[in-house]
Symmetry: D2
Subunit: 346 residues, 4 copies
């Protein structure tokens, strides 16, 4: 059984997915589309797949079973809806959108369309984090009480990127950690409190956009979660999870390039951490695709739903408001999800 | 050079200090006083030192150079003042008091009395944490940006104790972590936000006093600190510090009973952590006494001042209010300290 | 540039190589041959490649550039020679043979045939061990003095296999460690001393073949190497290297399935080790193939030469004799190699 | 109950014991004797204990219950015998002597004298190694099969010392590891094979005495032990034990000054190891004294007997001969011990 998938979007993350689509034996890589035709052509040539002339054409092509959406975030809700209406299964990179009303409208529009839609929170598919989650959900530490997430990038994004996404540390970056938090808490946070500072320095962050942040989440049953985030860690990509409960604690630690230890005259040293997400989380994108194939070809539940995408976005925007106004922000849920937290781990 | 020290208070922590006073070759252990004469007599006999008949007598005895105050917290301000007025050098267990106004009054009263007064935040003298602080202050990670403190007790205090100190998780326990935070931040926090839950269960915490908490601190320059606290960790006394800055990160990890690793058929295992503060921090009390001797006998600056005690108390009370009211609480400083953060590390 | 490679041998290790040949974009997988036609056919069908009818045919087929030899060890010298004489580049699984005279004859026969021949000591291509070797050869610990190799299999081979290869712990298993030793020592051992015992128990080793062994190597300049080997480690595949020298020490540690740590009430635990070489060293086979492609297509020096294969075999046989006779055994080299220790790391 | 102990020998190791004798509340430190009166006087004054005028006087003094012998090794057998004949309990530093015949004669002479005699192999009392031994003897890894001991000093002894003890790496240094090996194997080695080189360099070892060595031990039941030794490790005092058996493996790792980890831009680093035995094994000397007090005051079996001392010496001398002659050396036991391996752990 093979799934024919077209890729919409030939940007940085689009290329990451293109690589995996090209190598997966259960995927027919049906073509690539991007408004920027030169970018799309480069991907098409690299992988020997068709250059798709138009979005309309791709959506109307019955030989295409599914689309991967890796276009800019504000286009996501419209594209998801059009693709689902055209009968395609949909994978859409995070975030599901940039505006909560639009996403809520999308949820309503999709209510009657029975197509699988998966949102791209790849970290759930990292083997280390996933082993932690499986042990947690298997009862290894009993009732969960506290979650601690450390998430520091090796270096900030380009200045132009930061300029276009003010406060992006919350809705571009920490949104991943909010998804991790919800995944582990297994209960919706009802309040978020966040602080943010601009500490990295003029050279890397001339506009003094927030680059260092912390957030605290609370659930109705009293579980709590702390997130520590920075856009610059000189020792590499710092990605750690810790869950604490009545019967113990689990930690998913950092990953190093190799495990060689050097005992010298002044220091016992190890390699610094893997540099960034394309290294550290390379395999997670491969597994994410496998999960999508299971959902579409084998009728498994979608592991990361639009509701998951909606909630992470809601938390991001609430955190940004909290950090701006200096108050905790409550979350409320006008549109109850039909199904939350569906994943194979439960 | 020897310092004659009388101990006021023969409770649990008084006995810890008695042990160290008895063994330190620079200390003349001049006697023990407690309202509960039987307790005092037991300590006196164990260490072969005089049982002091009255507080008055002890303070008026010119052969006594200094006092160690380990009486109940609400008596601390009065006793510190009386001892200092009697010309004694003073060591007082944490907290410096329970009421901020009383402590501020004490600070004013002491303004004209030039006697060393040290508050008992022993964790500053732990060799691991201290090595971290020395590296931090030596510039190992450049400008500090984030502090993360994990602080979990192996088990909650007795029910009766918790009943008498509602919300004590903040002003009895987390007060240590606030002191750690100020020590590491090297700048006064201007805001605290805290959440607390009662999760441990009826058996150990029948009154459902908060037993699980998190706090976030912010300084004027934008540094931030996260504290994770629980009154029950089945794997032992969990005490970790992490400081993150422009040039890297330092971690002071947990301490295990021994370093033996067991590779079995199902698991690679190590011993759980040292059980509680009298094990984990045993040496820190010895070093704390050494620091007091340096201050009194050799004129070093006092390492942990009344101002330090005042500020940790202020943060504790603010955190309790924040957790209760659900808002961040600002700190303000009516009585500017004459000298803050005096310590040998600077 | 693509290399057309035929695979000779469809046994266990042949299938491992088949997988990698099929997936490497620079390889044309030209077909598979095995005396056991059914086995060959299964591999051919799995990867959609031709079933080769005869060895002769394969060697005479000009469209085939190279062969991978994964037939039984005693056939290796003959097949290597025939393939090289037919003008093929050759990769041959370890060991290069089972009889030293045959291998020496092969070396002489190949003296005038200028075809690349690589022997399959895959561990040299493991990323962890290789990082250690690169640091070592880059001077990280100055002059090397001691090497320690720990090498324990999770479980012994099948009884029938052990019955057919008495003393195989040395020439089947420890031969890998002798290759590691020579690679790291960068100097030929001149003496080997070995001890061996049968300790595992009747159930897994009914013939009481040696299953537990240690060996010590010595070089002319005084470097020394210790090897610890067992055919059964309940905690998984134990594969460690340690090199010690004038300026420090390097260790290449074990590799775990994931890095999750569990803090429980009785133990702090981690996952046991990866189970065996097809897991632990999976990537090393991929890199080994890359190295062969570099040698054949890009004229790099062969990383693991016939001389390397000859010397590991010589050490294995000497160790077996040492363990049997209870004396150290000297190594001498009648046929000086034209080129030793050629590898990119030097 | 208090034991009056006189110390015979005011050299380096004598001072280490003097410190512990002075601080132990169950010891009456009865005085110090040394041929070099100035050295003895310095120790006497430091601890406020009597300077003993003559050996004869000390041995005839009925108020002295026991002696600690820390004189040069060749005087040990004579002094042990005279002290035991005078009715004293005896603690004697390692080695028990330098000549096997003298030690065997001593064993025979002591056969009829029922006084406790303990030999100073302090490493058995290190808390980490002891925890490993307790787990081993408690069955944690089932039947023992392999022991690996790594033992590297931070720097060689002074040139003059090495000149006076040629081959001392075996009988001065590795004798500790032979004792560890026997303690863990719980069975007498029947053969030792050793290699030694002079690699450290002219500056620290101008006479080119062996400074780097390995040894392999074998027992009758087939257990085996590997020892790796160097007189110079730039990263500190490297002291590790590993025991491997049918049900797993135990490791007693190195001990660091503190547990702070530094994540920098180039390396993740930890402190180098504790510098030498007076740091690393400080507590083991205190516990060794406690064990002696248990034996003498409370009739526990002596933990490290003369037989233990005899056997470690025998192994040392056999290893030296093996390294010199290039052959394995068998051990045989003309004088069967009355009691071997007596220790509380069994």
């Amino acid at each position: 059984m093979r799934l024919n998938i077209a890729l919409l979007g030939a940007g940085f993350i689009g290329k990451v997915h293109a690589e995996n689509l090209a190598q997966n034996p259960s995927v027919g890589f049906a073509g690539i589309y991007d408004l920027d035709e030169a970018s799309a052509r480069a991907v098409a040539e690299q992988h020997g797949v068709p250059l798709l002339g138009s979005l309309e054409g791709a959506l109307n092509d019955d030989s295409i079973d599914a689309v991967f959406i890796t276009t800019p975030p504000d286009t996501h809700p419209t594209l998801i809806l059009r693709a689902a209406q055209a009968g395609k299964a949909v994978f859409c990179e995070k975030p599901v959108g940039t505006n909560l009303d639009e996403v809520d409208a999308l949820l309503q529009s999709l209510a009657d369309i029975d197509r699988p839609v998966q949102i791209g929170f790849n970290r759930r598919f990292d083997s280390h984090h996933r082993a932690l989650a499986e042990k947690l959900k298997g009862g290894a530490i009993g009732r969960l009480e506290q979650v601690t997430i450390t998430s520091r990038d090796p270096h900030p994004p380009p200045v132009a990127y930061m300029r276009n996404t003010p406060g992006g540390i919350f809705y571009d970056s920490m949104i991943h950690d909010f998804d991790m938090a919800r995944w582990l808490l297994d209960e919706e946070p009802i309040e978020v409190y966040a602080v943010a500072s601009s500490l990295i320095g003029e050279e890397l962050n001339p506009d003094r956009d927030p680059d260092t942040a912390m957030a605290t989440l609370r659930t109705a049953s009293g579980k709590m979660c702390a997130i520590q985030m920075s856009r610059r860690a000189v020792y590499g990509y710092d990605q750690r999870l810790e869950v604490f409960g009545e019967k113990g604690m689990l930690q998913s630690g950092n990953v190093q390039v190799h495990n060689v230890r050097h005992y010298g005259a002044k220091i016992i040293g190890e390699e610094v951490l893997l540099n960034f997400f394309t290294d550290r989380y390379r395999q997670s994108y491969v597994q994410e695709l496998e999960s999508f194939l299971l959902a579409v070809l084998h009728d498994h539940p979608v592991e990361v739903t639009i509701w998951d995408g909606r909630q992470s976005l809601a938390l991001s925007l609430a955190a940004l408001r909290s950090a701006t106004e200096g108050v905790p922000v409550q979350l409320n849920y006008p549109h109850a999800p039909r199904q939350t937290h569906r994943d194979r781990l439960q």
